[in-house]
């Protein structure tokens, strides 16, 4: 047990040292990948553990982005104040809408979250304080290493949260909700409270990621803040890596980001083609995610892939 925590600490230290030795292009890629990994991990809490797949976490990302941007661009507050504002907005939103929307299940829950994100984006588009559709410009800073470390810190915090959660009663409750919500309620799990808590936690992490991204890019507008494609990305990374596990989403996110980046800089124009093919092939042969594949391959070797095909096909 302690060995695992030690290994994790070492990995974090190594990652933290990277910007000091690696070329700055890697730092750029690293920051983006780490932020995506945090988003995937946040999604994991509600989607992987509790079984409520959200398609609208971009709503919280956008709130975090705009909270930070408005504070910094309009009120000239420091970054920390901006982040706090963004995070508070997101958590407040989660608590406010959590109860009604978490009564929906499966695809209906997915759609209502999607609708929520689109609605918020459309509202922000009409707000003068947010710069309407033109957006806001944040002060420029040249400390790019700061963003890398912040993103890394966020991912570490998020993953540690999930690790603790997985061992706790709260986590067990979430899993119970995923497996059979009615039975869980009967067994005394405070399902509504747990679900709203999970949503709020996801909202918090997602919003902070948004705030960091805003300051890093120095420019926000509704399209990029409430970016719909992020939703698909975080779900795919979490599911690809292994939902409901501690490290699955991290591995999935970092790997997919890496593949995408390498493709974009080597075969540039064919990049998206290969990316799509990689995803299709990977899912066909590793339907339970990378994490599971990693574990089982060691035990059963190559027949693992054939078994998957046989087991999961119609």
């Amino acid at each position: 047990m302690t060995l695992r925590w030690l290994a994790a600490a070492l990995a974090c230290a190594a990652l933290a040292a990277v910007p000091l030795i690696a070329p700055s292009a890697f730092r750029q890629f690293g920051t983006e990948a780490l932020l995506l990994a945090s988003l995937a991990q946040a999604w994991n809490i509600l989607g992987g553990y509790a079984g409520y797949p959200s398609f609208g976490n971009s709503a919280f990302y956008g709130l975090g982005t705009y909270g930070t941007a408005v504070m910094m661009a309009r009120f000239h507050q420091p970054f920390a104040v901006g982040l706090a504002c963004g995070a508070s907005l997101a958590v407040a939103c989660a608590c406010a809408v959590g109860v009604p929307i978490l009564r929906l299940r499966g695809p209906y829950f997915a759609i209502v979250t999607l609708g929520l994100s689109a609605m918020l984006a459309a509202i922000v588009r009409n707000l003068a304080i947010a710069g309407r559709n033109i957006g806001l410009i944040l002060p420029l800073t040249r400390k790019d290493t700061l963003f890398y470390e912040l993103a890394l810190g966020l991912l570490v915090a998020a993953t540690a949260t999930v690790a603790l959660l997985a061992q706790s009663r709260f986590g067990a409750g979430l899993v119970a909700i995923r497996e059979n919500e009615e039975a869980a309620a009967v067994m005394g799990v405070a399902t509504t409270r747990y679900k709203v808590a999970a949503l709020s936690l996801a909202a918090l992490i997602t919003a902070i990621a948004g705030g960091i991204h805003a300051y890093w890019i120095t420019f926000v507008d509704p399209a990029s803040a409430f970016d719909g494609s992020l939703n698909v990305k975080m779900v795919i990374m979490a599911v690809f890596g292994g939902p409901g596990t501690v490290l699955g989403p991290v591995v999935g996110a970092l790997l997919l980001s890496g593949i995408s980046e390498v493709l974009a800089s080597t075969i540039s124009t064919m990049a998206s083609l290969f990316y799509g093919v990689v995803i299709v092939v990977a899912v066909l042969f590793m339907p339970k995610g990378l994490w599971d594949a990693g574990r089982e391959l060691r035990r059963r070797g190559l027949p693992y892939f054939g078994e998957n095909l046989r087991r999961y096909r119609l």
């Binding site: 983006e32 420019f219 980046e261 998206s272």
Partner: protein, 403 residues
Amino acid sequence: MKITILALGLAVLAASRPARAAGTPITLGAAVQMTGAMANTGRYYRDAYHLAVAQVNALGGVTVAGEKHPLALKLYDSQSDVNLGVRQYVELLTEDKVNFLLGPFSSDDALDDSSVAEKYRVPMVEGGGASSQIFSRGYHDVFGTLPPADDYFASTIEMLGKLSPPAKTVALVSADDAFDVAVAKGTRKLAHGAGLELVVDEQYPEDNAEFASILSRIASKHPDVILWSGHEAQALNFIREMKRLGVSPRGMASFTVGVPTADFRQALGADADYAFGMTPWLPSSAQRDDWFGDGEKFAQLYREKLGYAPDYHAASAVADVETIVKAIEAAGSLDPEKVRDAIARTDFQSLYGRIHFNPGGQIALAQTVIQIQHGQVVPIYVQDFVHRPDYPVPGWSQRLAHK
């Protein structure tokens, strides 16, 4: 034995490599939209950059302090993803170590990508972003060869004052992104100054363009002129919807985009006729150029080599390359700060027009009013009439009768 043969082989290979061109290459870098939703226009930039660099090299390259250097180009495909583009610009500067930067298409991309140039203190000359937002941040290293969005309709409104029957009422329709909001703001001022009344002033969301409602409103107000600002795909939709609903203003309809571009006219066919538009550039033998001869020769060469006609995006892109080359030669060095100062002082004649930047970093070029007549783009007015406009524009049913 084997090793000797190997060694000999390598020696032969090394000896047979062509002698390197004198001087190390000077590299320009950019991330443009070669695939994705913006690829339609992004490809003009990709192709124009390549053509310009090839032409510069064909005529001897760049002379720095007496030594000749070839020009090189490093392009990435940003896949119309703004965030990816930003990362690619950082990679261009830190990994590929390019000397200077060229820009992407679209104000949104230019806004984000130029921040990278400013952060790393490397000059960027971009020809794809016209929004004044790009140039009002007090940035030091960013220059643009598209004229300010606010003035896009200036020539058109000036022309309206000289036409008969006179136009009195205007319907303004604009998208809500940075570029179009700037256009709308500027146009309101210009219209007010010219004594035109805005009977309709509508903004539409750039990603959900439903024009039926707007056009029905316009139909009920009977404006003399429609001034429209947005993206090419939506301009196309707007015209089709105009035809379907039978809406045609008494005077004319003018669009900020689409009209100068070939595939826009092709997609609309005969429906594109009579539409007014604008362009900061038309291929002209009067625009002399140090590398291409003149604007007309450039257009010919472009069409020959690439199979399609260039528009102002391509010309703007070529101007960017030429600006950097001229600045390097004027500064006599590759030092970013010196070259940046040289760009700021730039003043020369090119196939695109006179290249000279205001203190904010943006070029000032008058828009030429153009009209599509029988499927061809005809220049109508810039400071004075060049050709006769087909005005007032006949209604849709009348056009069918004309044929």
